[in-house]
Symmetry: D2
Subunit: 418 residues, 4 copies
């Protein structure tokens, strides 16, 4: 993560802080207390844990170290709301977060209010150093990541309920069918990684030269209609389409369709409850295994992260993000000769394993645990989703998940060798 | 379960119903909404599930079959709140009860209120047949069983929280040390099983002759002080004291002390939070494995259920029950030449596997699933505990759990061959 | 186990030893070296392990303690071939027995020869005390138990092989159909347990009075034809026929028929390879769960061990044992008004949990681990099987297995209340 | 895999075939029958399975398709010895290979002899097409891969035995201590992948341009002395040194040292039995997790596969291979300003996930399952080991294993950014 050169005006920091924190509260607002307690699988966390953990981040990494004579709100919280930072102390284990009925949702909201007050007070009274400004920005970006997780985790949680309750009402626009065209890109050298202007995570650095071989890109994401063809063609029953470990996982868990699709192959569970599948909208909630098998079936392949970053470089970060209110991927606009849907809708799986860039150095200290220690066995995803905050994304942004993960808003764009 | 001969006055049924139902609400009162959602292990259920399931029992087995033109409150509830009655339909699987955020606690309390209204209306307007009167009594006894489970389950749930929150404040009396004496009982023939006066579960029937060999009984339960001696003597490290499968379980799960004892061997988690161990109070929350190993260490054995029933037959059902407010086992009164603590404090493990009595017939229909299908691999416990409702117990009462169960209020009385 | 009063003539001991040891070698003879290595599940052991362990038993419990200046054959063997005697030292864990390629089969046969030589030398030169005579007899009975296990374990092992190799050729007689009649037995008091004449295991003692309630007994075992009717009637699909834990196991493991029956429901794997089902022969390799579900379907119940012992008391130990050469259960002879097949063919499941008799004391010392520590969660089986050595059985004999065990030669006789 | 341009003289093919097949038999020679049966974990296979599977490969992919009127030796073998080729039919599952006592070792050796005869006959009588010549060479390279696996699998198998039997006697030379120096390599563009001369697997193609950033390389492998320092410095107890998933695995499995090191940290199990650790010899049997943690501790990083291939390109394939008879990694010779140990001793873990090269196309047909379907979640290793056949290796060779694999001869060379 790059340290900003100059100290931001405290006024802007103040507003950024308020905006991000308010957004988180907005996300929790449609949920009843009970919804905020449940943890539907070890990979997901309860909403109230997200509310507390993001707050802990500010308390632990800013206030505890930078506010004078700081007294923690509750010593237990340092244990309960530490996610995975071994160097700052032991922690409550992740699969057991859903067993914590206390602190209650109300107590956690009090915790949030107290830390907000202290943070704003600190911002008011402190001439932030560059490092402090960076910590603040990091904390806000961290909270934005958890905003997306609040939605993916609660979607998974509510989907376990046979009554299939909705999180909220969606604003999904009408859709039209548009063809998928391929765009050819010649071999070229370009640069990957963040250029140092504005905030970036450490895993986006350093910027470095890359060689991109000639390839082709689909100009839009794969849609539900195309994925349905794959299923109807026996996609889930043909071993030859699947990676070896994918085939094992599929057999073991009985996968036959995307996680939220219903048996009828006509409807899917969404944050707005059960909805008809829009055949023009991007297929969503694929594991890497499914994305890869689909690509093989379609006689194509997944993009590399290098290819995608080079393609996205210089493009405006526009698309179907959280702010659109759809909270669901939507059909793209008309073909325009360019790559559509580069940002938003669904995270795009890449064939690239998540690893360090040449010359990568993690952040110093405990925050070095933020990204680097996950650089193994996961795959990079690019572009953000329909539930990502728009201001959180950029062309160099690297998301990462295990290849069997299906509960994120993940989809696929086809690529091929030229 | 014996069908009562005569129809009870509807007034008494009315009051019984109100009292039992009110008691359940009273038990949930100290809990916040969040507490009522969590499920700390597959064996335990969320409080709100207990609140709904006991209500479902009346709706499903009485109103749906016996109230004219009955319309269910919510069809989903028939699926969600069926526990294990395969013959009335499919059900939500037990280990996933803690994933249900909806219906909310408030909705479940509404459900309770609606069913109460309908039940009272039905009681008001119906001349109960013997069979109907029996169903009502069964439903109330069923709810009393769940009253105890609400407390054991929430104790386990709160104990997972590093903050060790209390359920409520306990009223525990002062304790004094009294010796453990053995009482010798000569060989005799007696009768076991329920005699048909008043309510009993089907598993207590039929009454039948049994032969009891000469034996000795400790006149009180084993206490914490004695159990601490066992631990300090290396009880948990000596394979020769343990049943073979007990030793495997102990090694696999790392058992070193009773489940709620703290590392210091001086305090334990209780429904009132952390408390000093009372060395004179009965040791509690033992698995059968631990009870059995302790007995072997003490050169004694567990009682059989036959021995215990014969010993308790004719005694008044008095002791430390829920009504005492201790919600924790307490030291016995002075020795009096008789068996003390035959009822209340802790359920007493027996060496008897839970099986059918000679001539046993389960109830007809779906309610035949209530007890009979569990007659395998479990052990019988006798006497009730400090959190059992007093009116629920009797000398013929058979409780049963798996030998590795530790979260019930279970303890041990020593016996021996004469 | 009762200590014989007088010292047996050394000549007879000598012959007994030779005969039993020779029989074990005879059992291994049809197997190739490879067969003797494999372990098909944690419950089963490789043949070569049985060959070594039974030898270890003599070395460890007789020679090491009773032969002057004894030097062990190989110190490693004390670790490798100890089964479960914690008090004589640590041991190689059971599920890993199949990973031991060394000592080889030839080395183990050498070990057997060496110990045989030493044992015979010891018998030659020692005036056996009563205790020593008892140890010898115990060792021989122990080896007989493993003779049966060698066959059950290798049957399970060979059955894993898609080529379904035979262990040997069977001598199975022609069968005829005979009706199943019920015999009524009035309430009576009788004695259970061993009377001290000849050898018995400690778990058969002490002899004690029992009260048997009036009941009925089928005069022969349930046969394949009857069991096929159960299957065809949907026996494996009706939850109401099964114990609760049985139903879970069945669903989890996908049980649809007895373990060695083929899909076609017309043939089964036997020690002689694949054979047509003989509809008149006893159904074999049932778990307790299946035996119990069948009984419920047939509107009957399992016998208790008390009932079976009282029924068998005084009968000659005759039937289809190993010596018949069938190595498979066979159809009974004509009805004769008495209980047929009380011994041999298949072990008969009882509803009795395996526990201590009133006044039971395990053997002193390490041999106390032989039986007592398994008195939990298992069920008693009676009567021996078609692969038991005839001389090993008696009316008081108690075998025991877990209710989900299917690889033993286990079947079912129906009983009912009178 | 590249298709050779011209047909090789049949004489050379004949000799190659004989040599490779003979080597396999040589590898099995020191093993007793029992050793060839055991399977110590799902990842390993019994020796006799390797002997049969490599034979099946020739029968299935050459004889069955290319020999006129071919009749299989045994139809069962097509099922039993298929490893993972779904497109040629179903197969016996991998974790159950150790349950197959039949066919026996002798029968498998007969199978080998029969196929050898048929293959040689086919070679004698056939003018091989380019495609056939390729299949032959592929089959021989395939068998060479299994030669290495025979040794790694049997090492793991014998190591499970408390007696720690040796596979054979080793010829390990004296060792001297030499420093580890770093060599700096400037940024450069080079080519990766096979150039088409001679045999290569499909995963080594196509040759393509790569950009290598400036970096440093250690001029020898990390040795036992250095790894011991890591352990003594608490390497296995410091979370901050480990990848997140590595730390979980380490805690779950209780790792504290390399898999074959003994508790005393002074000796290790080798194919020659227990031996003192040679502090100058390369540390061996590291998982990627351990290699990576060591590198982090040493303030370095793992090489990428690109870096290693560029470094090795043009070097002669010389080093400590199977042919040396050491069967164990040995200390390097004196420093010489170049990278030592680039081939042989231990496979070198890289930070590169195993994936397709740009433009990669798997072989057509069933042999396309050989490599491509494993391109997920594994890491590339380079250079071969002390048990690899020398003729099997080349600079472009890509081996791959999961990051938690420890039973291969795997070690680590340090790299760093320049």
């Amino acid at each position: 993560m790059n340290q900003p050169q100059s100290v931001a005006a405290s006024n802007s920091a103040y507003l950024d802080y308020l905006n991000v924190r308010r957004r988180t509260a907005e996300l929790a607002a449609p949920l009843c207390v009970e919804d905020q307690v449940i943890q539907s699988m070890p990979d997901a966390s309860p909403t109230k844990w997200h509310l507390a953990h993001t707050t802990w981040f500010f308390e632990r990494f800013i206030l505890a170290d930078h506010a004078p004579d700081y007294t923690p709100v509750n010593e237990h919280y340092f244990y309960l709301f530490n996610s995975y930072y071994n160097t700052v102390g032991p922690m409550h284990t992740r699969p057991h977060r859903g067993l914590l009925s206390r602190p209650t949702v109300a107590e956690i909201n009090d915790y949030r209010a107290t830390i907000d007050e202290r943070m704003l007070d600190w911002l008011d009274t402190t001439q932030l150093s560059g490092a402090q400004q960076f910590l603040l920005t990091l904390g806000l970006n961290h909270e934005q990541q958890h905003q997306e997780l609040i939605l993916t985790d609660i979607k998974h949680g509510l989907a376990q309920n046979p009554m299939l309750p909705a999180y909220t009402q969606l604003s999904v626009p009408e859709s039209v069918s548009t063809p998928m065209n391929f765009v050819t890109i010649a071999e070229r050298e370009c640069a990957n990684g963040h250029n140092g202007e504005g905030f970036a995570f450490d895993n986006e650095t350093p910027r470095h030269k890359v060689l991109v071989h000639a390839h082709k890109f689909a100009d839009r994401l794969v849609n539900n209609g195309e994925y349905l063809d794959f299923i109807k063609d026996g996609g889930y029953t043909k071993a030859e389409l699947w990676l070896s470990e994918a085939w094992s996982v599929l057999q073991e868990r009985g996968w036959q369709r995307p996680i939220y699709w219903q048996d009828d192959l006509e409807s899917e569970y969404t944050l707005g409850g059960l909805r008809d599948l829009d055949m023009n909208a991007p297929v969503c909630h694929l594991s890497l295994y499914e994305a890869d098998a689909f690509a093989r079936w379609a006689d194509a392949r997944l993009p590399t992260e290098t290819e995608l970053e080079c393609a996205a470089a210089g493009s405006e970060v526009k698309g179907n993000f959280y702010e659109s209110g759809a909270l669901h991927p939507v059909a793209p606009g008309e073909s325009n000769g360019k790559l559509r849907q580069l940002f938003g809708d669904v995270w795009e799986w890449t064939s690239s394993s998540y690893g360090p860039y040449p010359g990568f150095k993690p952040l110093a200290g405990s925050l070095g645990e933020y990204n680097g220690k996950f650089m193994c066995s996961q795959h990079v995803l690019r572009g953000g989703s329909c539930i990502s905050p728009q201001s959180h994304l950029r062309a160099t942004y690297r998301n990462f998940f295990y290849p069997d993960s299906r509960w994120q808003f993940t989809g696929v764009r086809l690529a091929n060798d030229a």
